[in-house]
Amino acid sequence: MAMLQRRILKSTLEEAKARFNFNWYPILSPCASFSTLPSSSTTATAHDHVPPHLPPFDYQPKPYNGPSADEILAKRKRFLGPSLFYYYQKPLNIVEGKMQYLYDESGRRYLDAFAGIVTVSCGHCHPEILNAIVEQSKLLQHATTIYLHHAIADFAEALASKMPGNLKVVYFVNSGSEANELAMLMARLYTGSLGMISLRNAYHGGSSSTIGLTALNTWKYPIPEGEIHHVMNPDPFRGVFGSDATRYAKEVQDHIEYGTSGKVAGFIAETIQGVGGAVELAPGYLKQVYDIVRKAGGVCIADEVQTGFGRTGSHYWGFETQGVIPDIVTMAKGIGNGLPLGAVVTTPEIASVMAQKIQFNTFGGNPVCSAGGLAVLRVIDKEKRQAHCADVGSHLIGRLRSLQDKHDIIGDVRGRGLMVGIELVTDRKEKTPAKAETAILFEKMRELGVLVGKGGLHGNVFRIKPPMCFSKDDADFLVDALDYAMSKL
């Protein structure tokens, strides 16, 4: 896929270059004009002519004496296989991180607006979390749960206390894929049914079973998936019913009535689809669907791998933004600020079916990851990260919406808190994905010092999901950089 991706990227970039005919590094060049997009009528701001500057940051990275980017790339090609893809035409050698910034081999600082894919929740090398990890690593890295240890118990208790309803039994695993695998197993055991339902455009994992739940062809290898069906995506921007949740929910009802025995094992969804391009489910959708699924004997699984831990700003968990309480919640990524850790939380009732056999995870709940996870929960509370996400997030979205008024290429700005998506289109009416332009802007942002993410089936959505210590100044810098880059297109 990496080779295919690179070929596509190369050809779209060539195509774009030919079409738009502009220089790669226009510092003070006059504004280029698009042939296909109507030029904006607003007057050019100062940002159009001078590239914006990173907010100041009082930190010096250690000098780097390791292998160069080229050496690493050559080794990767040899020992990590052709399928291991990477960002950017000239890949970035990231050697150090501090809070919301990353440093390359030359010591250059970048604003990390993607957080290692929504994973570094508190900030790179956050001192408190670092301390917890280091101290525990010196005492005991691993012994397994066949012996007692307080770290797993304390962490499970703290996590359970963040959950509503009767969600208080925690299973620790090592990744989001493992968590969703386990959730699916629980659903099937508990209900005695097989059928799972997930949303088109969802991403739930890369293991052979979670590939079945994932619904984006880029990530789906041609293997048998078992009883899994994908329903219409309640996508307010591209969905056929706009934001009409009831119509989308009826789809689920129809699927159950016509496509299953009438009973299902469960339904799983992200509240804001991550890989799918920061798509927030139409308001009111989950409430209706949860009802329908439960009437069909199924359980409701909330995949909080990306939206959890206060990122949405308004609530701690993504599912809370839809006013529902799931039966099973899965999490990973931000749970450990980058530690390999995942979790499944469910009710004692559902957990009891798992007691029929032995289910054991060797690394799951190890002292170091549990200590790190507990530190993350404490930092999020102590530093009031959730409120911060709401604050900075609304500022960021506000500025992006203004940018949308200025640049026609911005088709949609969506999301909540610090989980934001910017969808680029070449035609606002047709919503034609602006793949080539996204690729160019993506590179441009990197040159300007901003590392964003990319998503959506067509790769035309910028995903802005930084460490939650991202500031208003960072937001301004990001938007100014985007403005600058777009004005130069």
Partner: protein, 478 residues
Amino acid sequence: MQRFTPARRLLSEFKCSLRRQRRCFSQVAPNVVDNNDGFGPKIPSFDYSPPPYTGPSADEILSKRKEYLSPAMFTLYSKPLNIVDGRMQYLFDDKGRRYLDAFGGIATVCCGHCHPDVVEAIVNQTKRLQHSTILYLNHAIADFAEALANKLPGNLKVVFFTNSGTEANELAMMIARLYTGCHDIISVRNAYHGNASGTMGATAQSIWKFNVIQSGVHHAVNPDPYRGVFGSDGEKYARDVEDLIQFGTSGNIAGFISEAIQGVGGIIELAPGYLPAVYSTIKKAGGLCIADEVQAGFARTGSHFWGFENHGVVPDIVTMAKGIGNGIPLGAVVTTPEIAAVLTRRSYFNTFGGNPVCTTAGLAVLKVIEKEKLQENAFVVGTYLKERLTALKDKYELIGDVRGRGLMLGVELVSDEKLKTPAKLETLHIMDQMKEMGVLVGKGGFYGNVFRITPPLCFTKEDADFLVDAMDHIIARM
């Protein structure tokens, strides 16, 4: 359906039955040694004192576990052990008491608990960069992949990093299925390969298999030299694989997966001659051979670095986890460039896999194994330990079999040597008593009657003596 009976209940039942009847060994003294003061062998000396423990007590932890963790989560002893500190081959409980760790956190801690080189690597990298994903470059993953590939024979040089053995085996199975276009996979009865949907199918012990669909896996007769119907005749067992293919599949299969020495299954070494014969059969059927090195890999068998090398075969895909990072959550799949190319058909991505901290730790582990000659130590100490255990077997009828290689050893207990009746209760009792004496071993086997001895590879001859002497002391008093 098999019910999972808690150890505590079995143990108390056992103690009651002992007082009621005589068994094949003379009656057990009702007051067994509670702690090791003055009686029996002494733990070898060790110059390290753990910092004082001021955290929650065992009871507090237990009650939190009951409330917030899986109801099926089990512990190994009638009075569960609160382990708070570890150093090399020793563990410490909340009272600062030292134990010999003969289980290694399930064959996972290979260099030693909190080995200074590994800890230093982890700490230094954690302070620099914990996580960024492979979307950006970082030298740690590349250097480790290279070092790992250099340890493997043939054209096995493309590495995929995962976070666990289950993830590694799942990926290996998917790769085999994609590469061949077939779905059928053969694994061996009594195997353990993981607990996700594909791997649960490959795992072949009912206690680990939930009542959910596990498709496309066929289980072959276990080439078990001790309990198997063909004894140690590997080739006879291999014919079962041929039959499975000829009669149970289309004739072409995706692949075959096995451990070189079954871990969870009770340290069962596959009968000699089995793997070469099976590999040949699999290749004829167009399938790939997957070697699960999660427990047997990384110098543990002593004679070789990898378990499969003991059988004289070269697999197409090798999976690893556990010891690869001395306890850090890490797994890997290594295969040939040709096979690896199947994943280019779509995108495969693992968020945490290959992160700088875990790969730095992995590289440190490889360096320690080499620098401290741990493979050689595993061979020397393991051979010595096996000899002493074999002598113990000659002494006590209770010990039915001693097997394994290097520091992956198993001791199977039977109440009848001829019938090989599993001595489950005795196993629990001895295990508990070993802990009281200061030795932590593991348990396994389908009947739960096998001691699994898979310590950190820095285990010494003195440690081996202590372990055997403790076992001797306990069995003598039964």
